[in-house]
Symmetry: C3
Subunit: 135 residues, 3 copies
């Protein structure tokens, strides 16, 4: 019912972990149900986005970087580096948990949807997620 999933990141960007998550769903051996995933960090987040054209991911990252620039003179939380407060803001603008129905034994994602871990820090990390599956 509860599993852990880790995604290793190497810098800012979207990391598709749909296959790993579908593997956990298939191991659960259910036909219908609900899969909920939560990332245990506040400088990385979750998003379901288009997986057909990689330029969508590039544009998402650059648009968010333009909206939430580093070095804003209003930031008071600066001790953890210039990209940390922007990372928290981007995390708040996207989401920390997502629930996806399970149909026919797998995630009921649309044809062009994938689920991504969005790393907002410049230096990558190992990002821990908790997965809950119910039938």
């Amino acid at each position: 019912m509860i599993s852990r999933l880790t995604v290793k990141t190497t810098g800012q960007g979207l990391y598709d972990f749909s296959n790993e998550l579908n593997g956990i769903v298939m191991d659960a051996g259910i036909d219908q149900g609900l899969c909920t995933i939560m990332v245990q960090h506040t400088s990385a987040s979750l998003v379901i986005q288009e997986n057909a054209d990689p330029s969508v991911q590039t544009d998402l990252v650059s648009w968010f970087n333009q909206l939430v620039p580093e070095g804003d003179s209003h930031y008071t939380h600066v001790q953890e580096g210039p990209d940390d407060m922007p990372a928290h803001i981007k995390s708040a603008l996207t989401t920390t948990s997502l629930s996806i129905p399970v149909m026919d034994g797998k995630l009921a994602l649309g044809v062009w949807q994938a689920i991504y871990l969005w790393e907002h820090r410049r230096i990558g990390s190992s990002r821990s997620m908790v997965v809950h599956i119910s039938s």
Copy 2:
């Protein structure tokens, strides 16, 4: 437990489908539980917002259009039309799935809350959603 729900859209805007979703919940015949809904597209999204004054919906659409303008020279994903990349960004800024507790046999929405499918493309479409209900 799993149902499908389709909303037909005729252009950008918020489409209230609270009644259709409550119908599915009532058909499930449960008193308490959880209803999760996911939209299977990445250029439309979900939002719970005020249903009392329609000007809230108008202002939401125009504010998001101002924040995420078409024709930004930084966009590289342009093949699907000038409104497609803005649609993906607006989808990331809102959400693709929502979970709503069920009480007394219906969605436990607040007095002035409704659940909306937010169409971000200029030309409407038929938007598929998957609903999971558990008791």
Copy 3:
């Protein structure tokens, strides 16, 4: 399975209710499961954020106030005060419901994560939330 939780607010800002929510989870007496919380308002919202350094919360509030200023001449929804339409927009940019896996009898939050009710109105209120817990 279903509980109610109220947070009293005294103005704009993030209000940590992780302890209250963990109390409800512990009362449920489950080891593993899922906790879903929904706020029944559209001018307050939910966010999971860092609880280590309070400056993160200060910066989040001031950044969102800068992004969504009061008195924008495009707003048509102005009858409920200059901070009401910005509150609806900030609510749409964050989220109204969140699901958190339960492990070892408590919320599986990361070491530096807390769950916050984000009050977007200048004058505080009593904010109602509905909690669903399943094992």
